[in-house]
């Protein structure tokens, strides 16, 4: 997701999530992985016990529990919204949800916090490329 964030943003993202009480509580009962995709660029997050315990910028043979995938244009529009509109975007299919849709529903709070984290980093001038 190099057009949206500076290199190494994944580490900041992981740190941001793991320090978020909402992420810790929302993902407390999840043992799985979430893939964020923008074309060929992806971020795979292994989540267990309310924490991101691994992150890779490429697919793994383990697959994923569910994925959020969108074009660069849609991700940028989502991150530039004045509030977290991820559920509007998934409802309108501007962000596609793939994989286990039941786990996606069950993890709604975690999905919200994931996007909260992306929005926060996107607005950080040292990490995000919020170029209007």
């Amino acid at each position: 997701m190099g057009s949206l964030f500076s290199p190494g943003w994944e580490n900041h993202f992981r740190e941001w999530l793991n320090s978020s009480p909402d992420f810790q509580s929302g993902a407390r009962w999840f043992d799985g992985s979430v893939l964020l995709g923008m074309g060929d660029e992806i971020l795979w997050l292994k989540i267990y016990d309310g924490r991101v315990i691994d992150a890779k910028p490429h697919p793994t043979p383990l697959g994923f529990t569910f994925a959020l995938e969108a074009s660069e244009e849609s991700w940028r529009a989502l991150l530039q919204e004045d509030r977290n509109e991820i559920l509007s975007y998934t409802g309108a299919r501007k962000v596609a949800v793939e994989g286990n849709l039941l786990e996606f529903m069950r993890l709604t709070k975690t999905v919200i916090v994931l996007v909260d984290g992306m929005r926060a980093l996107f607005r950080d001038p040292k990490i995000g490329k919020n170029i209007g």
Partner: protein, 279 residues
């Protein structure tokens, strides 16, 4: 505009009452003396009369009698034979029986979302029996949700985490101009709703089609749509407005799917509409 000072008037306290209609034990909130007429308010999917708690006192002070029932299976109302209702028209006919049981004479109907669908349906099936209709965030045909999502929701296991999903989805359904305190109230109201009842309401909403009957509505009608409502498109509301003879369309900037709870000025919008029709 504000009504006369009735601060000591006991009829200006919201009171709850029960009655049985068509085998359903119905709860309703009620306020006001009724010398200016009666307004019947219908809530959204899965919800209750609480959605109208800001609206009721305003019109009670103006002299109206305002009633807000909980639909069967919602709030404090019980379902006959514990079978969820999946039809807008069936809800409408139950409310029609409620109107008869209470011997209400040509009330104004107001509804939002599935409540909006219901009041339009009542207007089409009983064209002479209302003083006016206020329909918010609804249209003569809505296809908001994918069928497979709703079908999955017939079982709780098909939509795990539905309360939380509703909680966050509600925030996105509120308008950007809505004060956060109101957004939080609506979020918490909506997570009180039972998922099974909510899903049946949404199935009813998705399948309802009043297209061939909308022109039968013959009383003054106002359609209301918030510009931030993602549940129903402006086109659908506009087409509905064109199909109903003489209907007005009011667009509320920065308001979402719940204008009666979100927007402080909503009651004045309705008051202005009723005034234009000498009601």
């Amino acid at each position: 505009m504000s009504g006369p000072d009735r601060s000591l008037d006991k009829t200006l306290e919201i009171r709850g009452r029960y009655l049985t209609v068509e085998g359903h034990r119905i709860f309703l909130d009620e306020i006001g003396p009724g010398d200016r007429g009666t307004i019947l308010c219908v809530h959204t999917a899965g919800m209750s009369s609480l959605e109208w708690r800001f609206f009721l006192p305003y019109f009670g002070r103006l002299g109206y009698r305002v009633l807000a029932p909980d639909l069967p299976g919602h709030g404090k109302s019980l379902l006959r034979q514990w079978k969820p209702i999946e039809s807008i028209h069936e809800y409408g006919e139950i409310l029609w029986q409620l109107v008869k049981a209470l011997t209400l004479s040509r009330p104004v109907l107001a509804g939002c979302s599935i409540g909006g669908d219901i009041v339009l349906d009542m207007g089409a099936h009983h064209p002479q029996d209302w003083a006016a209709i206020v329909c918010c965030e609804a249209g003569m045909r809505n296809r908001t949700f994918p069928d497979d999502f709703l079908e999955r929701g017939r079982e709780d296991a098909g939509i795990p985490g539905f309360h939380e999903f509703t909680f966050y989805r509600t925030a996105a359904a509120c308008g950007r101009g809505t004060p956060l305190e109101r957004v939080h109230e609506i979020q918490w109201l909506r997570r009180r709703g039972d998922p099974k009842i909510m899903i049946h309401d949404l199935l009813a909403w998705n399948r309802h089609d009043l297209t061939s009957m909308a022109s039968r509505i013959s009383v003054p009608t106002m359609l209301v749509r918030g510009t931030d409502d993602s549940a129903i498109s402006h086109d659908v509301v506009e087409q509905t407005c064109k199909a109903i003879p003489g209907a007005d369309l009011v667009v509320l900037p920065g308001v979402g799917h719940f204008p009666m709870t979100e927007y402080e000025g909503f009651a004045q919008v309705v008051e202005s509409f009723l005034s234009r029709h000498d009601l």
